[in-house]
């Protein structure tokens, strides 16, 4: 059958080739980190984890699994209890012997990241609340460290411009910069987008991505917490910290849209959104609970992005592409990936019995292999576009206006608080379309 033949060539090898083409920017002389010590044991690669939540701890676990030489050497988090909880979990981890973080290498506070980066490590994992990422990234690049950088990379346009500069500097220094846009390292998605590049679907003209899910958890205010502590501990619910659902979560779908349209920024966006079902409690901050964004490219192609965090509603997290020769469906969680012509004939299908692909682990496997081989992966150029597209969508929904890429990227509105201190901080107010201006 045609579909079997056309899927027969999808293999792990092809996937690696795809991601290599996408990510390998340069080949440089083998790094000293690639050296093997006598006896064949890999030279230690020390890592620092910045941001010790569930995802940061997960990234550290993936790094430990990716390379037998990896040692978790230092951690940083605004809150000491988060570091301690993370490290206590590692006491039961199979690689616990390579978790070597005594009290003197646990750095708390808003500037703890600087000390962790300066603690003699080779690689840093940037996994804090998104607001802090641009400053963490700038520091890591300045110090010449290889980097795993979770999504999103920034929450506002000043953050975008900072990260663009860091990407340039990382390139100049041949630093590995692996983004946390995990679908790019998922074999079925890589195969789908490679098939798209072959022209099987003709020219992709429209993209619909959806991320319909439930609300995230909150943390009730405890005695002794300052306003700042309360907000940072509930970071998902504050736009200045998370970027809102569009930027923090649905950015995964935006990234696939960007991938489909070859990492070329859209011309503009219009959108809607609001807070329909967020409880009127301070824990729920100022974020919206639904967005519907329409992106438009210079030649008229469009991308549609719907997302929702509302309880007891329909859940779906898939993507759909309309090309000039048919349609494509992507369900990464199925996994189900196919392309059909307008008559419904299957043009291409990802094999149901293909080996499992752990995209989160793949990110770290590729990063540490590149470091060992003296190669450089730099996701910077496209990751800033994906992330800024999400910020653009949020700006369009918040403002109720059509917002252009130029307007959005030139915005001088900083979401940063007046100062990074555990103390008083005003509660942000929900943005009202028609009233809030992109400035």
């Amino acid at each position: 059958m045609n579909s079997t033949e056309s899927t027969g060539g999808v293999s792990r090898r092809d996937f690696v080739a795809i991601s290599t083409a996408a990510g390998m920017a340069a080949f440089v002389a083998p790094s000293v980190l690639g050296a093997q010590v006598a006896g064949g044991e890999p030279k230690p690669l020390k890592i620092a984890l910045i941001g010790c939540g569930g995802r940061g701890s997960g990234a550290a676990a993936q790094a430990l699994k990716a390379d037998k030489g990896v040692i978790l050497w230092a951690v940083a988090d605004v809150f000491p209890d988060r570091m301690d909880a993370c490290l206590a979990q590692f006491a039961k981890h199979p690689a616990k012997d390579r978790v070597q973080v005594p009290a003197e290498r646990r750095f708390s506070g808003f500037d703890g990241y600087k000390k962790a980066i300066a603690s003699g490590v080779d690689v840093v994992l940037l996994c804090s609340a998104p607001h802090f990422r641009p400053m963490h990234l700038a520091e890591a690049v300045a110090a010449g460290k290889h980097i795993f950088c979770e999504k999103p990379m920034f929450v506002d346009a000043p953050g975008y411009r900072s990260v663009v500069e860091s990407v340039k500097a990382a390139k100049a220094k041949n630093i590995n910069l692996m983004s946390g846009f995990c679908w790019r390292r998922s074999a079925p998605e890589a195969a789908t987008f490679a098939e798209l590049e072959k022209g099987t679907l003709g020219v992709p003209m429209a993209y619909y991505g959806c991320y319909y899910t439930g609300p995230l958890g909150t943390k009730k205010r405890e005695q002794g917490w300052s306003d700042m502590e309360f907000q940072v501990r509930n970071w998902q619910h504050f736009t200045w910290l998370s970027g809102d659902q569009m930027v923090e979560q649905a950015v995964h779908s935006v990234d696939k849209m960007n991938w489909c349209f070859r990492n070329e920024p859209p011309k503009s966006a219009v959108g809607m959104g609001g807070r329909q079902l967020r409880e009127a409690i301070p824990e729920r901050g100022d974020v919206y609970d639904h967005f519907a964004i329409v992106y438009e490219w210079a030649d008229g192609r469009r991308g549609f992005l719907n997302c929702r965090q509302e309880p007891d509603c329909y859940f779906e997290n898939t993507d759909w592409i309309a090309g000039t020769k048919g349609q494509c469906f992507i369900n990464g969680w199925g996994p189900t990936h196919w392309m059909k012509d307008p008559s419904g004939k299957m043009l291409w299908e990802y094999p149901a019995d293909a080996p499992k692909s752990d995209m989160y682990q793949n990110e770290h496997n590729e990063l540490f292999k590149a470091i060992r081989d003296g190669k450089v992966i730099n996701d910077g150029d496209w990751m800033v576009v994906s992330c800024m597209m999400a910020v653009l969508g949020r700006m369009a929904a918040y403002s109720g206006q059509q917002v252009t890429w130029e307007q959005a990227t030139a915005s001088t509105e900083s979401l940063s608080p007046p100062q990074y201190l555990m103390g008083p901080l005003d509660m942000p107010v929900e943005k009202k379309p028609g009233q809030y201006k992109v400035s």
Partner: protein, 279 residues
């Protein structure tokens, strides 16, 4: 080609059309519109007779448990509300295969056990996961063979890598649907550990003669990006579901009339915070 081969066989007498087997009893779950139908499974190989649900656990019923829908509808009791429930999943845990009428999937063994606990409090019967021996009794009573598997089971032969609507293939000789294929089913092994039985929509071949329990493994949640990994959900177990059994022909501990008891007060200072995660 299969059709052609079948036509080439001598014409056989049409299969007798038997009436569907009636459930031994059915439990209406208070606060929901759902009724759990239970089928009698005869004693076999030293295992006492018991009752097994006609279909695998549906999303409708698991959702009622997961999202406290019975409580929200005013149809719960203090006892049923006190059962610890899973954290809410952060991805489409139904994987887009289907929801209303489809088997609940991806729950951990802990989630499966807690569901049984909740259902027991809701109905007054002790519901639990089957033992492997009980599952094998169901298999024996099913009368399904390798030759008839395709009539009864969603397997990789025709499932297109997805679960299918509950009972959308022919029920077996005991009146039970989807025992084979569709979602694999959580069971309790002889050593008290958890395992799955029955094969699933992922399996190319399900051979009743070779059916063995597959013990629970961390691989079923290997790609959970968080650490510690979820104790409630299996990122890599989209083919794992469950079926409940009970020995109780009559409720042994009938619940108070739903909604007549005040809900248990939250302990002082208890945070409503959940551990839902973002990714």
């Amino acid at each position: 080609m299969l059709a052609a081969a079948a036509l080439a066989l001598p014409a056989a007498a049409p299969l007798p059309q038997t009436a569907p087997i009636a459930p031994a009893f059915a439990d209406k779950v208070a606060g929901t519109a759902i009724t759990v139908e239970m089928m009698k499974v005869p004693a076999c190989d030293g295992t006492a007779p018991f009752f097994a649900s006609r279909v695998e656990l549906s999303w409708e019923l698991f959702d009622a448990f997961l999202y406290h829908l019975d409580q929200k509808a005013g149809g719960s009791t203090a006892e049923s509300d006190a059962v610890t429930r899973p954290t809410k999943p952060y991805v489409s845990v139904d994987r887009g295969y289907g929801h209303q009428g489809w088997p609940a999937i991806s729950m951990s063994s802990k989630g499966a056990v807690q569901f049984c606990e909740w259902l027991s409090k809701k109905t007054g019967r002790t519901y639990r996961l089957p033992t492997v021996a009980e599952w094998q009794c169901m298999a024996k009573a099913s009368g399904v063979t390798s030759a008839t598997m395709v009539e009864h089971a969603w397997t990789a032969a025709d499932a297109k890598n997805a679960s299918h609507k509950l009972g959308s293939k022919k029920a077996d000789a005991a009146g039970i649907a989807d025992l084979w294929g569709n979602a694999a089913e959580w069971c309790v092994a002889a050593d008290g550990g958890f395992c799955i039985m029955g094969g699933s929509f992922k399996d190319k071949v399900i051979d009743p003669a070779a059916m063995k329990p597959i013990p629970e493994t961390e691989d079923w949640n290997e790609s959970d990006p968080q650490f510690p990994k979820s104790v409630w959900w299996l990122v890599d177990g989209p083919y794992i579901g469950m079926r409940v059994v009970t020995n109780d022909a009559v409720p042994t501990n009938p619940p108070a009339k739903a909604g007549t008891q005040p809900a248990a007060p939250a302990p002082a200072g208890a945070a409503p915070a959940s551990t839902e995660k973002t990714k």
